[in-house]
Amino acid sequence: MGPINWQTCFFFLMAAIACGAAIAVVISSNIVRMACWLVLSLAAVAGLFFLTGAEFLGAVQLMVYVGGTMVLLIFGVMLTARGPFVSMKIGAAQWVVAVIAAGALLTVLLQAAFGTFGQTQGKPIAAAGSSRELAASGNDVADAASYSPLGLGLIGVRIDRLAERDHVLRGGMSGYLLPFEIISVHLVVVLVGAAYLARARRRMVPRHWRGGEQPSGVED
């Protein structure tokens, strides 16, 4: 038994939390609990991000997803606080069908995942295991993954491609500036659209209420 590989340790911890919480999301029927599990799952995924060396993205994940999920939660509470909506069950048959389909999908995906087993273990971190090398390699990861190279990558300067022989590849093909701009415009459009969709209406009469009672003035 060699020294404990902390990265592996934390990976398993986080993975277990993420998967367990995700399964709990599926299983639980209360929308608020679902949201809680979801937050837990997402936070664990953020932890996995940290493990892959992407701190910035981990923080983004925390901020955006946790914030987003919080809004989900609020909506869930607001829209379904009334008794019958808190849990909407589906029939056992549907469960069975869904689980079979999902199981098939999982099988396929797992097959693909295990297909890569042992195929790419590029870095020597695994074999070495000593904490010094781990630290060194961790620094490498940090160098490559901190937010500055990310920002530079957006404008087309690729720190991680400097060693590329082909100068086109070394440039990272091109920057992500255009996608970035598109995304930002997209965001603005989405925000405006969402605000428009969710704006307060003067009359909010559900459809099936409307069907029953005709305004008396129509017949005249």
Partner: protein, 798 residues
Amino acid sequence: MDLNVLLPRLLALAWLLPLCSFALIVFFGPRMGRAGRYAAHVATTAIIAACVLSFASLGLWLTQHPVGAAHGAHAAAVPPHINGDWYSLGEFGSLRVTIGYYIDALTLCMFCMVTLVASCIHVYSAGYMHGELHDVFDTFGPTEEGRMIRRRGRYYRFFQCLSLFCFSMLGLVLAGNVAMVFVFWELVGICSYLLIGFWHERKSASNAANKAFIVNRVGDFGMIVGLMAVWTGMGTFSFGDYKVTKADGTVAMAPGIFSQVRPAANEHKLQIPDGMVKSAVGSQASNVLVGKSDAKAVAVAAQDIRDLSAPQKLKDWRSQGLGYGLLVIAGLGIFCGCVGKSAQVPLHVWLPDAMEGPTPVSALIHAATMVAAGVYLVGRFYPVFTPEVLMVIACIGCATLFIAATVALTATDIKRVLAYSTVSQLGFMMLALGLGGWLAGMLHLFTHAFFKSLLFLCSGSVIHACGTNEMPSMGGLRRKMPITAMTMLIGCLAIAGAGIPATVIGFSGFYSKDSIIAQDLSFWAANPRLGGWFFYAALFGAGLTAFYMFRLWYMTFAGNPRDGHVYYHAHESPSSMTVPLMILAVLAAVGAWNIPFTGGLGLQSLLQQAQPAGIADGVSGGLYWSSIAMPAQHLAHEHANAIKAEWAAFGVALVGFLLATVFYGLRKLDPADVTRAFPRLYRFLFRKWMFDELYSYCLVRPMLKISDWVAAVDRRGIDWLVDGSARAIEGIARVDDWFDRIFIDRAVNVAARWTYALGMRLRTIETGNVRQYVLWLVVATVGLFVLMSFFWSYAIAG
């Protein structure tokens, strides 16, 4: 700044100002105040500014070229002028089409006259046309069902056309080449068309507009022929000499039309231009070559063509008179255009009908712009005319003045009288020009412009007051409208040529008309056999002029009112109309006077400065008609000759005046008696010498007949063909339709039914359940994976 640079710019500004006003009114006219009332201000401002600029240019010109200086040089040299090009539209071989200018004293005088008269007319129109400011019930122009037309006022459009008219006329005057003259010539025609047809709802107005336009086209056809002759023979359209850049880069002066026809080397005497000689030789030789009559002639012709570039043979050919015909054709063609525009017989018929336009328009057409253009062009082109052409001009002018004067005797429409008087006066001008009196003709152009515009505006004032054109329903109006009456009286005196013989005191017409008569007289002296006709015709015309003008005045203003209703409603016109009248009255009176204390500066001396080189001394005989002798101009001014002419003119005018007084002023004699005594003559004159009927029989009716015939061919033959083919196609279409229904429609329907049935089956898949869709997605994904793993082994990363 150098005058050669400054003057063209000033005049260009004066020329373009009306265009700016036109453009402004075109785009913003309806928005200029209510119903576009400020359009009048815009147009008037523009033309007055142009007038100021014109007079400023004239002043500047006089600082450089004082009138006295021209006297000494007298005809021996080309008059001082500035010419050049602003912009070259293009060069096609030797032909340069440019926007250029040719400025001499004539141009400047025309500018001043046109802008001044036009300014008065603009101011006058602002008052006269106020009826157009609101919706108009046109009482003169009922529709075919007899209903009155109610339409929007077109105040701004009137001024828009006026501006364009002034622009066109100024451009014509300023033009430096014949092509540009032609362009503006046509623009003037269009403007007159628009303005004569201003009340186009009236059938008569639209007819008159069409008539004016079409008759002018006849003249323009001749003008185009003349232009072609000029281009063929001279290779240029430019009046003056112009700079050309040769292939090797050197700049040289190329001779313009004037220099080619009257080269300085030939002491400005008429000479057949080289080009015309060459083209005549060429066409003669090629005729021989084509005909192949006999070997000797062919050889000569071939040698001629080879020698075309040899200058020494030119002299021989020229002495043979080769190319002279081309020169005559050029002159006649140009004059043909002038006949149309200046309403000479036989193309005079449009001018009296043009009275259908608003009165200010008539004034503008008759005085300053349209008809003046023709006379101006004759004056401008004068150096090119050979004696034969001049005789044609004189004959036509003589006929015109006589015919028009007789017709004016019987007319009762006040404007129509004035219209025929215009035609007659134009005949006077043409006669003078044709008899070699360039100065007399041009002087009459200017004086006539002043008093005729005055007369027209006065008549407009009368019509404005009475609401009718018919003189028999007027009378005694001098008490109601004294200013109009007085100014009109001045106009009548001016046109009649009132003055004291043997002195230099008289109205403006006195100077011009007397010099025309004097010219006739000197021509008679030079051509004893022929000249008498012209002299007596002119004298008779002058007498008739006095008669009909005073007839007009008496019938309108003197005596007792004939129609109480009209008299009751008559009133003096507003000051916007009377002030222009007074200005023009002053001009009509003193227009031809020399300005005191300036050493003889005046219209006459200015025009004398502009007199083309080599025409003052007269010519003796043309190549084809060698018996004519054009007298030198100074002969007409010889004291004996001038005195004789003055007394003669005074006498006939007095007789005319007295007759008019007896018939219409004192009413001692009844004109109806005279009419009854000569009923045929009266009818002949009343129908205007049957010109309209003549044209109707000769041209219009045959044309209508041919049209009917063609229409019948169309209806019987071509329509039948077209209908038959349509019917055939219809039959084919029926078959096609049947085929479509039976086969194609069924096929389509069956396909549609299948699709429908399939859709009905498939709709059950669409459960509308979102979760089920997701499930399908999953299944599809898995299926895709499995499928791919069959074909690509690495699909599942194996």
